[in-house]
Symmetry: C2
């Protein structure tokens, strides 16, 4: 008998019919003798609708109010799931983030979990109740509702699993697990049975939408085993865990791509110390999530500084840089939204020289232009034109011998469709 | 300079455009130098939609979960109104019932306010902030969200006004104030400038939809002045307050009608002591709000017991009676939904004999059949067929010399439309 935390995303609870299915799945586990705790996201398009309402009233809605608004989405789905479980004769109770003991810092819309006091949930479990917890939300020291930002519900689930000392944290979504690349883009992608925290973290940070990097980071830190699996089948998915002795060590574990970022370039910055520090400390102060940073070689004592950040942070980033333009004496600041980041990830890379060379030459042979490069010990990322992302992923997948014999059935998506899919949900 | 609590119902916050208008109204008051605190209901049809979702999952949703579900409606509107105020350059913060310090008992869906700790709201007011409070909700001693039932937001507003020692509690709705009868039913109804708590309470209890009786009761107990006025005009409405010396004392202040109740009759009950007590203590235990009780004269040692209750309580009531049928040895239990209660109300009644006689003879002359009668010192209610309610109100309004010279413009409604209007909202 295990204690299992099950997290269901917005698609899985999008309608009463789907909520019934989630309830049935939880009950099946309960009947197998397990204790279960559910964590839910908001129903389907709820968050988008709430964001739309806010936008109609305030171009820059105050973050505190936005959190209060958005947090209602999960409160609706949690109550509905609890009702569905009760209707099937199982005792259930829903809990807000606050009631589940999830405390966060005060950064509204992007809060970090600072603690979890799971006594009330544990008591419910011990009483035979199926607790249903609102994902994505917590409470700060002002007693105000906070939300955890993108991927917040995954993080809630992992935090709850840790707080309850659960055996596994199952994260249900509309994909079967973690693939060597997005199968909608690369039909020969393979499903992985296991992946290490390190590899998963790099893939998630690099834009693989299956699991959110913050959740994986939390899981790695506290050794919570994640099982990423499909909400629509009983097939086993992918276990994300500490690297096991017998885990197969490929040079490249997976390829991720990400079309959700924008590249911003500050042109004609005087090449003197302190400028970059000023730019990025101001961006950090404005809570812009800077990803890659590229500084070109100076010419005539002036240089260009480029960086990438989520498209959602673009307005804030441009405004921040605009405000310091006179001080940094830059010539202009431009942005490019039609880019994609393609990353290859693998712990095995550390002991295999020549991986970068193989990546660049593969892209070159396929006439894909590299706009920028960034690396970590177990990841190499390149920025390419958004229209070339699919081609880049496919040829790298082949070049690193990752192609499966079978072909994924869903037809490949256009760059726009991929971008749309990547923007969705929490 | 006054401190004013302003409550806006669901119709007033039904869309972003209407929320803008509410914000403009609050700002106008602020600019006049007043301190303002807003209390809001859920947007338009939100509650109905949430009830629909719950019904799709559970025929009898657990009350605790229902409260968590319904309370999200006000959390959405409060955040949106705060955003609208901020967009216009005014500082605003929204507060849930819990954060506004509203504590209640544990009766989910129909909680009673047990206390209000308004310090946090008062602090916000003193800081120049416009607080926006979610109506209809509170928190019980289990730290669980509760809702106050029908009219809950009015009650929240009055409680907050009391907690803040506000000068007046303005309740905005889609009507101009309190009329001598519903002007949609009785086009010659007059708007009252003032009404005493006692008269208002009887009118509200008797079904006048303008103000909820619980709110009036609270206001009477704690001497909170209510100003019932239109959300769509600046005209003064009706002040509900302690009876002033110079208040005009009519014999009948107003006429109310109510089509939201059902009449349930238990037939063939043995005429012995204790039976009525058993019936009504069981109904009370099941939280059925019994209104009028009529026991007919016994015949052959058996009698009929009838009572009225809200249509929403009918299922519970029939179930409760069903469960004690064998014990009370009743023959059958039937219900009649096509009834209306028509009440005349007036503190002046106490000192004017013959009011009841005039009421009954007026109805008799108009061939309106009286199905049941109940009285209080300042109210006489009769049950008539629902189809005769409009006629009854009109002829009583004329008989008691209440007709105004002007005629209300909105066309009279059918009995069904009136019933629909009376069912709506909180």
């Amino acid at each position: 008998m295990s204690l299992i935390v099950c997290k269901f995303g917005g698609t899985s609870v999008a309608s009463p019919e789907r909520i019934q299915k989630v309830a049935a799945r939880l009950i099946a586990k309960k009947q197998e003798g397990h204790d279960v705790v559910a964590v839910v996201s908001a129903m389907g398009k709820t968050t988008d609708e709430l964001v739309g309402l806010a936008a109609a009233l305030n171009e820059k809605p105050p973050a505190r109010e936005m959190d209060r608004l958005l947090s209602t989405g999960e409160q609706v789905s949690m109550a509905l799931l609890a009702m569905a479980l009760e209707a099937k004769g199982y005792r259930s109770m829903s809990f807000t983030g606050r009631q589940a003991g999830i405390t966060t810092d005060k950064t509204h819309l992007k809060s970090k979990i600072t603690g979890i006091a799971a006594d009330r949930i544990m008591k419910a479990v011990n009483d035979g109740i199926i607790p249903v917890i609102a994902g994505f939300q917590g409470i700060d020291e002002n007693d105000d509702i906070t939300t955890l930002g993108r991927g917040g519900s995954d993080t809630t689930a992992v935090a709850v699993a840790w707080g309850l000392n659960a055996d596994v944290c199952e994260i249900y979504s509309d994909v079967d697990g973690v693939y060597s690349a997005d199968p909608r883009v690369c039909p020969r992608a393979r499903k992985l049975d296991f992946i290490s925290y390190d590899d998963m973290l790099e893939l998630s940070s690099a834009g693989s939408g299956v699991l959110q990097s913050r959740a994986v980071e939390f899981a790695r830190k506290y050794k919570v085993v994640i099982h990423s699996r499909s909400a629509f089948s009983d097939a086993e998915g992918t276990y994300v865990q500490e690297k096991a002795e017998d885990m197969e060590e490929a040079v490249v574990t997976g390829i991720a791509h990400d079309t959700s970022e924008v590249k911003i370039t500050i042109r004609g910055v005087p090449d003197m110390s302190g400028v970059a520090a000023m730019v990025f400390s101001h961006l950090a102060g404005a809570n812009v999530s800077v990803d890659m940073i590229i500084q070109n070689v100076a010419e005539d004592g002036r240089t260009d500084i480029s960086f990438t950040c989520p498209k959602g942070d673009m307005a804030k980033a441009m405004e921040t840089i605009g405000s310091i333009m006179p001080e940094i004496k830059a010539r202009e600041c431009i942005f490019d939204e039609n880019i994609a980041k393609v990353s290859i990830v693998g712990t095995g890379m550390k002991s295999s020289p020549g991986v970068a060379a193989r990546m660049f030459s593969t892209l070159g042979e396929n006439e894909i232009n590299i706009l920028a490069i960034s690396t970590s010990p177990i990841r190499i990322s390149v920025i390419v034109r958004a229209t070339e992302a699919t081609h880049a992923v496919q040829c790298l997948h082949t070049a690193f011998d990752m192609d499966s014999d079978s072909v994924f059935v869903e037809t490949a998506l256009s760059a726009e469709e991929i971008a749309a899919k990547m923007q969705k949900g929490r």
